[in-house]
């Protein structure tokens, strides 16, 4: 078990080093950073001095090492546009994105799993047909369209929910949260549904197909032949066996929820890192882009690591083989 975790951990570090290299290459070769930072009237001497202070004259491997080691310590350099440390800017923006992603993931799981189980158990129910219609909408409509539709219905027509922003936020030890105020929660509803709808339908369809497969298996027939209650058969024996693929997909999707919150954040003007990244692209603010790239890569690697460990917890067969 420990050896398994260490092995995966080392693999994760290698992946991060490679991503760091890509981010570094982008950082160094997408135009001359000095040109981005200074005006036309800056003298060549001043440019050289800036080059020296930024460490741009050191040999490339040395620069890479500086970049990686400072990134590992949480220093991603200074934003060209805002002249602030990128790490601070990320820190300000991250809580908004993480809260949004977390709430939509919880929404996707809490709605998707029961819907999947229900549609697998009651194949001919009217509700099943309704759920499947919803899932078709969720899987085929693009995110921004769903967001705009929700805004139109709930903000413009019904005027019940805000159409943009985070509402009031409360600061707790440097973490600004919108989960503690009514307006913050209200502001969270529409973006969370928009972001989570696709994941929800994905999870629902996955649970449904896995569950139907498992319900046909011999051990379910044997469990029924032993007279176990339908609840024990469906939720104990069947659901647990469907969880392995669900964990994988949910884990990977959590990464993409955070990474691709960009669109939702834009539609709802949500002050998260996605919106910040989009602005950075417009301004060619390379340090922010590089930091964003590194952070998203780190998230995926980290989530994959957690998913791998969760497998081992759920499935005893892997536990024995790899230990």
């Amino acid at each position: 078990m420990l050896a398994f975790i260490i092995k995966r951990f080392v693999q994760s570090i290698v992946v991060m080093l490679v991503v760091g290299l890509i981010a570094f290459v982008m950082f160094r070769f997408v135009g001359d950073p000095v040109d981005q930072m200074v005006g036309l009237e800056t003298s060549i001497e001043d440019r050289e001095r800036l080059r020296e202070t930024l460490g741009l004259n050191a040999p490339l491997p040395m620069q890479y090492w500086n970049f990686i080691s400072s990134a590992a310590m949480g220093d991603f350099g200074t934003s060209y546009q805002f002249k602030r440390p990128v790490a601070d800017m990320l820190g300000d923006r991250l809580p908004a994105t993480l809260e949004l992603a977390l709430v939509s993931a919880i929404f996707a799981l809490c709605a998707g799993i029961p819907m999947g189980v229900f549609t697998a158990l009651y194949k001919d129910s009217v509700l099943t047909k309704l759920f499947q219609a919803i899932s078709l909408v969720g899987i085929s409509l693009p995110t921004f369209l769903i967001g705009i539709l929700l805004i139109y219905v709930f903000s413009v027509q019904l005027q019940k929910l805000p159409s943009f922003g985070r509402g009031e936020v409360v600061d707790i030890a440097g973490w600004s949260t919108g989960l503690l105020t009514v307006s913050g929660l209200k502001a969270l509803i529409l973006p969370a549904i928009t972001l989570g709808l696709f994941q929800m339908t994905l999870i629902m369809r996955l649970v449904r197909s896995e569950m139907m497969e498992i319900l046909r298996s011999d051990f379910i027939k044997f469990a029924r032949a032993r007279g176990l209650t339908p609840r024990a058969v469906h939720f104990g024996h069947a659901l647990k066996n469907t969880m392995i693929p669900v964990i994988t997909i949910t884990g990977l999707q959590l990464g993409s929820i955070i990474a691709f919150a960009i669109i939702t954040e834009t539609v709802f003007q949500w002050p998260g890192i996605g919106l910040m990244f989009l602005q950075a692209v417009q301004d060619v603010d390379v340090p922010i882009m590089a930091a964003y790239l590194l952070m998203i890569a780190f998230l995926f690697v980290f989530i994959n690591l957690i998913v791998d460990i969760l497998y081992v917890v759920v499935d005893p067969r892997i536990r024995i083989e790899k230990a």
Partner: protein
């Protein structure tokens, strides 16, 4: 009342498919005494397993019991609501399935599966249930049962898993055990051990057994009586010794002739020409008529009634005169 435990009368199981209704089991009747072992034999698709599933009420849609009755210890059970039937399954009737590798839930320990089943049917504490589980595993011949009970199914060999499956079927001391091809997926060397365990457990608990198999060797070893099914219909039923030594139905004769024995030296094994008709296009008369060497005109027109012939009941037009077959 005689000591009849199970009475199956004119059981018909149908499946509605796109190509019309398919009769998988057609008017099958038999009785089972307490403590008796009845073998149910036939080719694949003869309706053996469906008969077993129909008795415990585990026919999945689109299949259904279309006619006939099933009585267990005097109580009619084929039309019970599903919740009542669930309480009978596992409690009064235990089942053992063919493949021990897939019959157990891979994510739960053997202990958890046993204890869960025991607690479903018996009103005892968790500790008592665990003790009983260990005792059951010990009885079915799993060494160091108290240590191995916390293992997962994949940590057991195939034969050991089938013992676990038997222990699971016996959790609540059922009166009837339906063993559906319990040895088919196992090594030949393990097969007779498993049959032995099954027989021993049943005689100790006084349970009756329906042993579904296509292996006549297993039947000869374990069964008291044997019922031969062909294309969903009963061909012949009688005491094992008589059916094996003096089969009456031409199909049973063919079946017995195709089993190799040590004494019959150098002879070619007989084989029955052709194959079983598909259930969708069963001939109008006797289902076996197209393959039967002794088929007469009447065989192709009318389905034969079952008649008592000596100790057996046989469904064949040749049985017109009592016991007289050329």
């Amino acid at each position: 009342m005689s000591d009849t435990l199970l009475g199956v009368k004119d059981l018909v199981v149908e499946f509605s498919t796109r190509r019309g209704i398919l009769t998988a089991v057609d008017k099958v009747s038999f009785d089972l005494e307490r403590g008796e072992v009845l073998g149910l034999v036939g080719e694949s698709g003869a309706g053996k397993s469906i008969t077993g599933s129909a008795i415990v009420g585990l026919i999945d849609p689109p299949g259904r019991i279309a006619a006939g009755t099933v009585h267990l210890a005097g109580q009619r059970i084929d039309n019970l609501p599903s919740e009542k039937m669930r309480r009978i399954r596992g409690d009064k009737i235990g089942m053992v399935f063919q493949d021990p590798l897939t019959s157990l839930n891979p994510l739960y320990t053997v202990a958890k599966q046993l204890v869960q089943t025991i607690l479903t049917h018996k009103d005892i504490s968790k500790k008592q249930a665990r003790d009983r589980a260990i005792e059951l595993l010990d009885k079915v011949g799993i060494p160091a049962a108290d240590l191995r009970i916390d293992d997962y199914p994949h940590q057991f060999s195939g034969g050991m898993r089938q013992r676990v499956v038997i222990a699971l079927a016996l959790c609540a001391d059922p009166e009837l055990i339906i063993a559906d091809e319990p040895t088919t997926a196992l090594d030949v060397s393990v097969q007779s051990q498993i049959v032995g365990v099954l027989k021993k457990m049943c005689s100790e608990h006084g349970a009756s057994v329906i042993l579904i198999t296509h292996d006549m060797g297993v039947i000869a070893e374990a069964a008291d009586r044997v019922a031969v099914l062909y294309s969903g219909r009963m061909a012949e039923i009688g005491p094992v010794r008589d059916v094996i030594k003096h089969p009456q139905h031409p199909y049973t004769k063919g079946l017995m002739g195709s089993i190799p024995t040590i004494t019959q030296e150098g002879d070619r094994l007989t084989q029955i020409p052709g194959s079983m008709p598909r259930l969708t296009d069963r001939p109008p008369g006797c289902a076996f008529a197209p393959r039967c060497e002794m088929a007469m005109d009447v065989c192709r027109q009318n389905h034969p009634e079952e008649k008592d012939v000596g100790t057996a009941r046989v469904a064949c037009h040749l049985m017109r005169k009592e016991g007289a077959v050329a």
